[in-house]
């Protein structure tokens, strides 16, 4: 009965959807409140995901920095997640990266600031719990 939705023709060429429906379904079902999913909804979700992958890739590529546009890099994607409202929901899983050395430096500077502030005010700057 059917590999219908995946559109696997005997001739193999034109597929309606390339992503495996079974896997899409597993992901969908991992969402707690979902009871059941109609086959059409499954097909559309798979198709939408493909469209999403295309869109994310092309958007990130177009808005990417760097003169040599020979490659799509992680940082193109991270920039997209941060700067585009549409892709904001990805911000947590595509964080921007900084060098460890830079991060340590930032931490040091922050500590210095905190200490300086603590000196000026008599109040409670430090977090107390």
């Amino acid at each position: 009965m059917a590999d219908v939705a995946v559109g696997k023709d005997k001739c193999g060429e034109q597929r309606l959807v390339s992503l495996p429906l079974s896997r899409i379904r597993v992901i969908m079902k991992s969402s707690p409140e979902v009871s059941s999913i109609n086959q059409e909804a499954l097909v559309l979700t798979a198709k939408a995901t493909e469209l999403f992958v295309q869109y994310l890739a092309t958007y990130s590529y177009r808005h990417g920095s760097g003169k040599e546009r020979k490659a799509l890099t992680y940082s193109d994607l991270a920039n997209t997640a941060e700067e585009s409202e549409t892709f904001q929901f990805l911000a947590d899983i595509l964080p921007k990266k900084i060098l460890a050395s830079k991060y340590l430096k930032m931490l040091k500077e922050k500590r210095k600031d905190d200490e300086a502030n603590a000196g000026d005010e008599s109040g409670d700057d430090e977090a107390e719990s």
Partner: protein
Amino acid sequence: MAERPEDLNLPNAVITRIIKEALPDGVNISKEARSAISRAASVFVLYATSCANNFAMKGKRKTLNASDVLSAMEEMEFQRFITPLKEALEAYRREQKGKKEASEQKKKDKDKKTDSEEQDRSREEENDEDEERLEEEEQNEEEEVDN
């Protein structure tokens, strides 16, 4: 339902192909970028599902249907997907109809020989998940176990 972590990922080969077909010729994708897009796609499915489910609940239904997914796209501000999705839906329905008609035709032919109890096997368009069908599919997929 206990899923292994890799079950929530989409197959690398397919993701890579979709990306390559979308980008201009000759543009490379770093492995990291590809993996990131794959993760993003999984998150997208979750987000879309959750959103679609809200629409189903509003309609007092327990089963997600096509219009819930379309409404979710609107809500998530992916309106640009709506037209291609509607077209895909039409194509899918035609395909379903075609297969149904084909199998009904077969039945008619068979009935000339026997009175069968095959009526039960008729496929409805709206049905809930059919585990076996999908498991079969899974065996048919090509996957790259990579990384």
